[in-house]
C-alpha cells in the first residue's frame, strides 16, 4: 500500500510542477475570469459613450401632409413621434425628416446626400404593398448586417400601423399589453410539488452543460495524459526497472490516483475562479440582471454530478492506462486511444443533444450503460426527472464495471508493459497473457 501512495505522490508532484499543467491552468483561469467579467466590461464601454442612437432619414413631402390617405410622409412622422415618446436611455432610433419633392429618383439622391453629409446613418424607403394595404419598408445604409435597426423599425411600424387602422387608445392598450406566460418543471411520478421554476431550470441546464463539458474534457485530457505517461515509461524502458520494484497493480492505480488528484486540483482552481468572479459585486449585478442566481442550482444535481464524475473518471482512466501499456511508441498512441475517445464523445453528444429532451428513451436506456451513464444520468437528474433508486442502480452498475474493467486493465497492463514492438492484436495479447501466466 505504501508503494501505491509513493507512486501517487510522485505522479502528482511531477505533473503539478510540469510546465504544461501550470500554463494550461493559468490560461483557463484567465479565460474564465474574462468570460464572467465580460458583461460588466461591455456595460462599461456602453456607459461612457452613452446610448448609441441611430439616425434614420425619411422623405417628408410637403404636399403629402395635406392628403387624407396614409402616405410615407405621414408614417415617417408617426414613427418619429413613436420613438421620441420612448424614454431616452432605451431609445435606439431617431427619425430625421428630409425635405423632398415627391419625385422618387430625386428624393433618393437627396437621402444619399444626407448620408454622405453625416446628417443620417441610413434611411427608410416605404413602398405600398397591395396585398396588405400597408407599406413595405427597406432600410438602406452603408453598414452591413443592420439586423437590430430593421427589427427596431419593424416593431415601430407595427405600432404605428394601428394609427392607420384608427383604433382608440383603450383598444391599443389592450392590444399591446404583454401576456405573462411562465413554465414550471414538475415531477409527475411522485406527485410532489417540488417543481423547478424556469429560472431554476435555466441554471440547472447551464450547470448540466458545465458538468458534461467538465467531465468530457477531464476524461479526455487526463486519460490521454495517463496513457502517454504509461507509454513514455514503456518506451524509455524505465518500466523494466519499475516493474521489478512495484507491482503493476500498484503502479497503474497509483498513477491513476495521482492524475485524479491533479484533475481535482485543476477543477478546484477553476471552480474557485468562477465563484470568486461571480461574487464580485459588479458581476453579481450583471448576472442578476440576466436573472441568473447560482442559489437556484439543485443540490441533487451537484451530488449526482460529483458521484458520476468520480466513477466515470476511474472507469475511463483504467482503460486509458491499459491502452497506454499496449503501445510501445508515443507516436502510435493517438490511434490506439481513438476507440476510447469515441466512446466518451458518444456519451457526451447524447448528453448535449438531449438537453431539451431529457426524458427520451435513448437517455433513459443509456443512463444505465456504464460508459454513457456519467453523462446521461447527470442530464436526467439535472433537467429531467429521475428516481433515487435509478441513480443508485446506475451507480452500482458503474462500480461493478469499474471493478471488472479495472481487473481486465490490470491484466492487460501487466502483459502489455513487457511486450515491445508493434501493437499486439487481441489474439497475440491473449497468447502473451497465457505465456506470462497472468
Amino acid at each position: 500500500m505504501s508503494d501505491f501512495w509513493t507512486v501517487t505522490g510522485f505522479t502528482f508532484r511531477n505533473k503539478v510542477k510540469g510546465k504544461a499543467f501550470v500554463v494550461t491552468t493559468i490560461i483557463l483561469v484567465l479565460i474564465l475570469s474574462l468570460v464572467i467579467n465580460l458583461p460588466y466590461i461591455i456595460s462599461l464601454f456602453k456607459g461612457e459613450g452613452g446610448n448609441d442612437v441611430e439616425k434614420v432619414g425619411y422623405v417628408s413631402v410637403q404636399s403629402d401632409m395635406l392628403k387624407s390617405s396614409v402616405t410615407p410622409t405621414l408614417i415617417g412622422g408617426w414613427l418619429k413621434e413613436y420613438y421620441e415618446s420612448q424614454p431616452e436611455e432605451s431609445r435606439s432610433l431617431t427619425m430625421v425628416p428630409i425635405e423632398g419633392s415627391g419625385d422618387a429618383a430625386a428624393d433618393e439622391s437627396l437621402l444619399k446626400k444626407a448620408i454622405a453629409d453625416g446628417k443620417v446613418d441610413g434611411y427608410v424607403e416605404l413602398t405600398p404593398n397591395k396585398a396588405t394595404g400597408f407599406y413595405d419598408a427597406v432600410y438602406k445604409s452603408e453598414k452591413m448586417m443592420e439586423g437590430s435597426i430593421a427589427t427596431e423599425l419593424r416593431s415601430g411600424l407595427q405600432i404605428v400601423k394601428t394609427n392607420a387602422a384608427g383604433l382608440t387608445d383603450a383598444q391599443k392598450k389592450l392590444l399591446y399589453a404583454p401576456v405573462e406566460v411562465s413554465s414550471m418543471q414538475i415531477n409527475a411520478g411522485t406527485g410532489e410539488e417540488s417543481g423547478r421554476t424556469a429560472a431554476q431550470q435555466g441554471v440547472n441546464i447551464g450547470l448540466v452543460y458545465a458538468v458534461l463539458f467538465l467531465l468530457f474534457m477531464s476524461i479526455m485530457a487526463t486519460g490521454q495524459v495517463i496513457a502517454s505517461e504509461v507509454t513514455t515509461e514503456k518506451s524509455s524502458r524505465i518500466m523494466e526497472v519499475l516493474i521489478t520494484s512495484v507491482s503493476p497493480l500498484n503502479s497503474m492505480f497509483g498513477k491513476i490516483m495521482g492524475m485524479f488528484f491533479v484533475g481535482i486540483l485543476q477543477i478546484a482552481i477553476y471552480v474557485a475562479t468562477v465563484v470568486i468572479n461571480v461574487n464580485i459585486p459588479t458581476n453579481k449585478d450583471a448576472l442578476g440582471n440576466m436573472n441568473i442566481h447560482l442559489n437556484d442550482a439543485s443540490p441533487d444535481l451537484l451530488i449526482v454530478g460529483l458521484l458520476f464524475y468520480l466513477t466515470g473518471y476511474f472507469l475511463y482512466a483504467t482503460l486509458y492506462a491499459a491502452v497506454g501499456s499496449l503501445v510501445s511508441r508515443t507516436e502510435d498512441l493517438g490511434q490506439a486511444v481513438m476507440p476510447l475517445t469515441f466512446l466518451s464523445l458518444g456519451g457526451f453528444y447524447i448528453g448535449m443533444f438531449s438537453l431539451s429532451v431529457p426524458d427520451s428513451m435513448l437517455v433513459k436506456v443509456t443512463s444505465f450503460i456504464p460508459f454513457f451513464s456519467p453523462y446521461t444520468m447527470v442530464l436526467r437528474s439535472g433537467v429531467g426527472s429521475v428516481e433515487y433508486w435509478e441513480i443508485g442502480l446506475s451507480l452500482v452498475i458503474m462500480l461493478v464495471s469499474i471493478y471488472v474493467f479495472g481487473w481486465l486493465s490490470a491484466k492487460i497492463y501487466r502483459t502489455g508493459v513487457l511486450l515491445y514492438g508493434k501493437r499486439p492484436s487481441i489474439k497475440e495479447l491473449r497468447k502473451a497473457m497465457k505465456a506470462y501466466k497472468i
Binding site: 510540469g18 524509455s236 526497472v241 520494484s245 505465456a435
Partner: protein, 301 residues
Amino acid sequence: MKPLVVEKVVKQYGDHTAVNGISLEIDRGEIYGLLGANGAGKTTTMRMVLGLIFPDEGKILYDGKPYSKEQLRQIGYLPEERGLYPKVAVSEQLTYLARLKGMSAADADKSLKSWLERFGVPEYYSKRVEELSKGNQQKIQFIATIIHKPQLLILDEAFSGLDPVNVELLKSTVKELRDNGSTILFSTHRMEHVEELCRNITILHRSNEVLKGSLKEIKSRFPRERVRLAAEGEIKGLESLPGVLGVKVLEQGGYEIRIADEASGRGILHHAMSQAEVSRFEIMEPTLNEIFIKTVGERHE
C-alpha cells in the same frame, strides 16, 4: 544455502521455446556470467529471475525460498536498454525508485549523495536526466540499480556506452559490491569483462545451455592451439614444421602460429632457437572470445 538457484527452468512462448532447461547457482560474493548471442534466451532468463514472468517448468530459489515480494526488494536490476524519466530531476527519480524498494526517503537521499560523490558527479543531484550525456546517464542508471543496497544484482550490459575511465570506475564498484557479499548475475557481449570478473559462466545458444562451468575449467577443456613467438631476427620455414596449421606475422613484430596440438610447440621452439635469439615463446590459453565463437559459431552452421 545459495542466494540464487535456478533449476532446469523452461519457458515457452506459444510454439517457441525461449529457454530450455537452464540451471545455474550463484554464491554470495560471486559474479556469474550469462553469455549468449542475441536472442539466445538471456533476457527471458533474467526476467524469470526478476519474477516478471514465471517459468513453465523448473524453479527458482532465493536463499532457498521461492519467489516473493520481499525478495523483490533485495534485487537490483540494470536493464540492457537504459530507462530513466528524462524530464525529472536525478535526485527526485532516484529517491522515488529507492522508496519503491522500501527505503526511507532520508536514507535514499543520503545513499544517493554518497554515490554521486563516489562517481565524482555531485553536481548532477538536481539536474534533469535529459541534460546529462549518455555516459553520465549510464552512471545515474547504475546508481539507481544499487542505491538500495541490494543483495542480488542483475546487470545486463553494465558497461556499454562508457569510456574506458568510466568502465574502470564501474568495474571497480562492481568488484567492491562482490567483495561485500553481493550476488551478481552478469550478462555482456564483452568477453574481456567476463574473463576479468566472473568465476562461473553459462553460454546459451538457441535457448539451450551449450557450455557451463568455471571459467578455468572451461578454458582447460579447450585445446591450446596458438603459439606466440618473438625473436631477435627473422625465422624461416615455420610453415613446413609438423603440426603447424598456419603462420601469421604480427604488426608489432613476432609470429602467431596455429598448431594442431600442444605437442607441436616443442618442435617450433627448437626450430626457432636454432635460427635466432628467442625473446618470447608462449603456448596461449584460448580466450573466452575464441571459445564463444567456437561454441556458438560452430553450432550455427
